[in-house]
Symmetry: C2
Subunit: 123 residues, 2 copies
DNA sequence: GTACACTACATGCAACCGCATCTAATGCAA
DNA sequence: TTGCATTAGATGCGGTTGCATGTAGTGTAC
């Protein structure tokens, strides 16, 4: 239990650090930005901020800012929701989709490297 | 592999959030502060900043500040190293030992809760 | 319709982090 | 000894985070 926690702590630190460096240098993305793009691509449709919030491990405020940064970089666009005009849809742009596509192998490589010796998770 | 990463991400987020709240509210400690105290107690001797740096998943600068906070709270004391006067020894105080002792069950409870359904790590 | 509770998202703020850099001590070479 | 590269730890700075709060839209009770 404590060992599991230490394992999580160690892998998280190593992976975060690598991802930040690799994704940042090669694609100009932070780990949070990539994660959000990745979620959107997986769903392959417009998503409400709130839906993203459930999937990404960020507070609502942090997510709001990540989306703002992505929008500024033209990788997503925000649009009001007609059904509920408080809501905001997040839409990935072509540039966003391209950026994600080029960054994905980098992320996979980092994870493969760090979890190469990973124990298998068994219930 | 990606699933392992998602697992790490989810557990880390949940645990960090809980630890921050529980340790903060009940004992006035942040997760990093607790982790550093915990490492010192486990070694049960004076430690160089650098030695701590290898065990805690923090940059050297962050660790330096954590130690500064702990010293300000009288939970550890810093002393120069006679062999190498660039070095700094970190010494836990009685108050620090007491604080750690009272916080440990809280940390264990949080981890037990979060890793209750944890898969076993098998190679 | 008016008032009020509630929800979705944005934003001010303070705390923490990592990187780059600074200071001081060490050690080695000429 | 003097000079210079190296190391330990502290600190300035910019960036991200979460919490608390603000703003605007929704829904319900009267």
């Amino acid at each position: 239990m404590v060992e599991t926690w230490h394992y999580v702590l160690a892998k998280h630190a190593k992976a975060m650090c690598s991802l930040e460096r690799e994704l940042g240098d090669k694609h100009g993305l932070g780990p949070s930005e990539f994660e959000v793009l990745d979620r959107i691509v997986h769903h392959d449709k417009k998503l409400r901020i709130q839906e993203l919030c459930d999937e990404v491990h960020l507070s609502q405020s942090a997510l709001s800012r990540v989306v703002a940064r992505l929008e500024k970089a033209q990788l997503v666009s925000r649009g009001v929701c007609d059904q509920d005009r408080r809501g905001v849809f997040v839409c990935i742009t072509e540039a966003g989709r391209a950026r994600h596509k080029e960054a994905l192998p980098t992320q996979r490589a980092v994870l493969a490297d760090i979890f190469a010796d990973a124990p298998v998770l068994v219930r």
